[in-house]
Symmetry: none
Subunit: 304 residues, 2 copies
DNA sequence: CACCTCTCTGAAAGTAAGTTTCATCCGTGG
DNA sequence: CCACGGATGAAACTTACTTTCAGAGAGGTG
């Protein structure tokens, strides 16, 4: 064979800029001028049109095309998007934030937002990682087979409890959320075998919730604890323990990240239950969605 | 002053894909087809030519251009390189999961957990990315200087409203959450200049919330909307618009990820307000923490 | 119910960007 | 001095992108 195919050793899928600087000496003078511009500021090059870049390199469009081919690209548009992609990757992910750390006194809102979001997202991810699907499965089964589901939580965890209650209700399950200890105790006393009681407490030390869960257990109900601390008192009165993984910042009394982690767990259980009776759940959701339809106004505005 | 400057929280400089999903409902049908393709696989879209993309979306090139303009780009090439850049920055979504997609019928719990956590975490992160600190700042200032803060939300958003109310209350701010329309309207009627009304609605179309916000505005209160859709009706009655960035999965009626995103925004505002009066807020938190201390049992068990 | 208006839409015309072709230039070696 | 061959840009050409315009259809109005 007379033809010689040139094969580049550089992996095409990444490091285009490195590749180009490697090839630089082997390029013709005019192409080198183009290459230098590209290497110097890939993001800027990506923004330019071919004519623009050619002018900047004091050469013609034809040379730019030749340059594209020389570095293994099909054409200029291809080069452009590769450059844009590489330039974007180059920018480093947001600076190191202290995980679970405090928010510094002088922090501006942008920092606050970044810190909170970072910790919130981490809490959600880490919670999911350490959640045991087998335990979830058992909890889902228990809820699925339950005649009634009671959910207890105080303060912030109370909202999570209500959220879960409302979700289960929407797919046609009998569920109650009791933010009040006395009502909760009364309700727990009426639970029996096959029923499920879920206690939510970030610290795992909220005596009201523990007490109620204990009561429910005594009546034969299956008890589930949702807490951030796997060895906290609440776990002693629970058949199943689900843990969140939130590392709180200073204003932790509000237990900000833990709420999100709790909600994530709630969502998982909810979808788990719904998935057990897919069609029935879907129908129930549609019906409830329709029910509020008249309380919605027209769709979003179109742009003018 | 008759002039009301509306400030939206969508930050143009990053998170284009998030931005697009937020605008999705406000786009025309043909543009929506394009948007969906783009959101589903930005990297792939970046590789396509305009004709190609138009064909794939079963529309004309003209519509694609209109779509580019609708989302704030100058033209198609600009969109292309932005998409390429974003796709590159984005960490590979763990392949098995469709971002914002449905949960497959046969999914086991482990998959469900992974999918939910992934989408939840993404919603939080993307929400933070596109939140405009300047708008947050103004909202924080408004809350900080308010005589009273009213927070409105229905159903799931109602829990978020209550959560926010409770948080503000804990740092000594007068805040109310009204899940009931009539009580809410009554309360809104009593608001005045300097007061703040916050309406929370994922879809931005909940007529109850809109109505109440409008009432509050008519009374001279500063109005704030928290929604996922920057062009939804609720934004028309709000002085400040804060947007979340959740792409919901099928069981979206529950608006799972959006709740978390809303809570993240709430947390940011809360910490922002608390930071304004750091020592006072800290003292208030300590006092309230002490108040529930007797309702806590001993610390976590040591390892056995 | 006819009429109007307004938005959405794609066809087609128009413009700009990218690509190919080709003649020229210039250095090199016979 | 004359081939020869690579490098280069002008110009022709093709493809991609953008604008314009008229028709379709939804929704409102007298």
């Amino acid at each position: 064979m007379a033809k010689t195919t040139k094969v580049s050793a550089t992996n095409e899928s990444s490091g285009l800029i490195v590749h180009i600087s490697g090839l630089l000496p082997s390029l013709s003078p005019a192409e080198q001028r183009v290459a230098r511009l590209v290497v110097a500021d890939p993001a800027d090059a990506a923004r330019r049109t071919i004519t623009d870049l050619a002018t900047a390199a004091e050469t013609s469009e034809a040379t730019v095309i030749r340059f594209c081919r020389s570095v293994g690209m099909e054409g200029y548009p291809q080069l452009r998007i590769r450059l844009a992609a590489e330039a974007a990757r180059r920018i480093e992910p947001p600076d190191a934030r202290v995980v679970g750390g405090d928010i510094p006194p002088g922090a501006d809102l942008a920092q606050i937002i970044a810190t909170i979001a970072f910790n919130d997202a981490r809490a959600v991810e880490e919670t999911a990682e350490q959640l045991d699907p087998a335990v979830c499965e058992q909890v889902v089964d228990a809820i699925n087979g339950a005649g009634r589901v009671d959910i207890y939580g105080a303060a912030a965890s109370g909202f999570v409890a209500s959220d879960f209650q409302q979700k289960l209700h929407r797919i046609g399950r009998t569920a109650f959320a009791w933010p009040d200890v006395h009502l909760a105790l009364t309700s727990a006393a009426l639970l029996g075998k096959g029923d499920v009681a879920i206690g939510i407490s970030h610290s795992g030390t909220t005596s009201d919730v523990i007490e109620v869960l204990q009561q429910a257990r005594a009546r034969g109900a299956t008890t589930v604890a949702l807490t951030n601390f796997p060895r906290s008192p609440i776990t002693e009165v629970a058949d199943f323990v689900l843990t969140t993984a939130a590392r709180e910042t200073t204003y932790r009394s509000g237990a900000m990240a833990s709420r999100l982690a709790q909600l994530t767990v709630v969502d998982c259980l909810f979808v788990g239950v719904a998935a057990r009776n897919r069609s029935k759940a879907r129908r129930a959701l549609e019906v409830t969605a329709e029910a509020v339809q008249t309380h919605r106004v027209g769709a979003a505005r179109r742009s003018k």
